[in-house]
């Protein structure tokens, strides 16, 4: 099976920003423009995460989402501040194919995963994990890496799978935005723990980082943000490099 190469837009409306350790933001461009650029470069999918809506306790801002969706003939996942079935519905109507949830499910009510899977199908429900290492384990964080939950990542991923999540977006608070490589151990453990697809994000600094991640942890997909935003490499570069390294990707 092809490993999916996914472009991830971390959005603080109205801009795509580049967080470092989920803090300190730099403006990188408009979501619709970057989405179109990465689509043209050959991205298999696009993730759009409003990284401040949970923290500010407001609903995700719809401006920009419909505009971004209409440009794309690939799957589009949207997240940020989702806390009801109605929010899921609204995002699908804005053009999302999948909805990403974290904070509400962790802090308030994990049953929202069951409900959403029953209504929209598991394939449309993505659970975002923000993991931070603590001794020999990893703990789930929320609100963009700011708030500890006390939940153990390996237990939580099994629980969300049981509840009907169709996919996991795995982010690491430790490696995010630093461009020094992924948290390989974390990725390996999570991929092994569940039977649903795992998309790994946080840490791509070079083509080799991506190759090493795929070869050692076998995620279903890799989500790339910073590396693309600086125009150092394109999605096409990544895919060509992986293909030449013997890794299956969709060209």
């Amino acid at each position: 099976m092809n490993t999916r190469i996914i472009a991830k837009l971390d959005v603080k409306p109205p801009y795509v920003v580049k967080p470092v350790h989920f803090e300190g933001l730099r403006k990188m461009g408009k979501p619709s423009e970057l989405a179109k650029k990465y689509y043209d470069q050959g991205a298999d999918e696009l993730f759009y995460i409003d990284i401040v809506s949970s923290l500010y306790q407001r609903k995700i801002l719809s401006e920009g989402i419909s505009e971004t969706a209409s440009e794309l003939l690939i799957p589009f996942a949207v997240g940020g501040g989702v806390n009801s079935i109605d929010d899921f519905s609204k995002m699908f109507h804005m053009g999302a194919d999948k909805v990403v949830i974290n904070t509400y499910a962790v802090q308030q009510d994990p049953n929202i995963i069951n409900k959403a899977a029953a209504v929209f199908g598991s394939q449309a429900v993505v659970v975002n994990i923000e993991a931070k290492k603590w001794h020999q384990n990893w703990e789930c964080y929320t609100d963009c890496g700011r708030i500890q939950s006390g939940k153990d990542v390996m237990e939580w991923v099994k629980e969300v799978e049981q509840r009907g999540a169709g996919e996991i977006l795995l982010q690491s608070v430790d490696t995010d935005g630093r461009r020094r490589g992924f948290d390989i151990e974390l990725s390996k453990e999570v991929v092994k723990s569940v039977d649903i697809p795992v998309v790994v994000a946080s840490g791509a600094g070079s083509l080799e980082d991506i190759k090493v991640l795929i070869e050692t942890a076998s995620p279903s997909g890799v989500a790339i943000a910073s590396l693309l935003h600086y125009d150092q490499v394109t999605i096409q570069d990544i895919k060509n490099y992986l293909k030449n390294s013997g890794i299956m990707v969709s060209l």
């Binding site: 092809n2 969706a69 109507h93 929209f120 279903s220 969709s250």
Partner: protein, 201 residues
Amino acid sequence: MSNIIGIVNYGISGNIHSVKNAIERAGGDTLIINSTSDFGDVDKIVIPGVGSFKGAMQGLENDGFIDLLKEFDKPILGICLGMQILSEIGFEFGKTKGLGLLNAEVKPILCNEKIPHMGFNKIQVVHSNKVLKGLEAEEFYFMHSYEVVNYTDISALTKYGNHDFVSAIHKGNLYGVQFHPEKSREAGIKLLSNFIQLKVN
């Protein structure tokens, strides 16, 4: 002659807008079918696929669409779940009766790989049809946990792990694809264009 593509809107779920956008990009005129009276205004029907087998059949029943779909004698294209519900029976969230237009059952994908099967994957054409014409070597986007089990109307298969499942069907006026043409770049637009250009008898 008119050539309006009706898109069946059933229930609360789903992104039918992406299907509408893609059909329009492929050059088709669309009409969202929201009520039984809309059926008379369309020349072809696309059944998009979002939600679960059970939820979809309930939605179609609540809207009074089941008999109208069964009786529709012009081309129908089922996408993903929209193809699955053409079958006799589905097993998602319990056993549910489908539209029964296809001699098939819908069961969990039979393999040891990660489920749902998500991503671009190849199709291997077994019996080509007009909708798949020129697309034999293309990859399409899949996003599903269930598969159609059918032996008589297979147009294409797709390999996931060591398992081949049915990725496209054709029977008379019925066409079905397990993948999402509206999420499959230009290849998907070409497929929709093929469907739009089918001649109606």
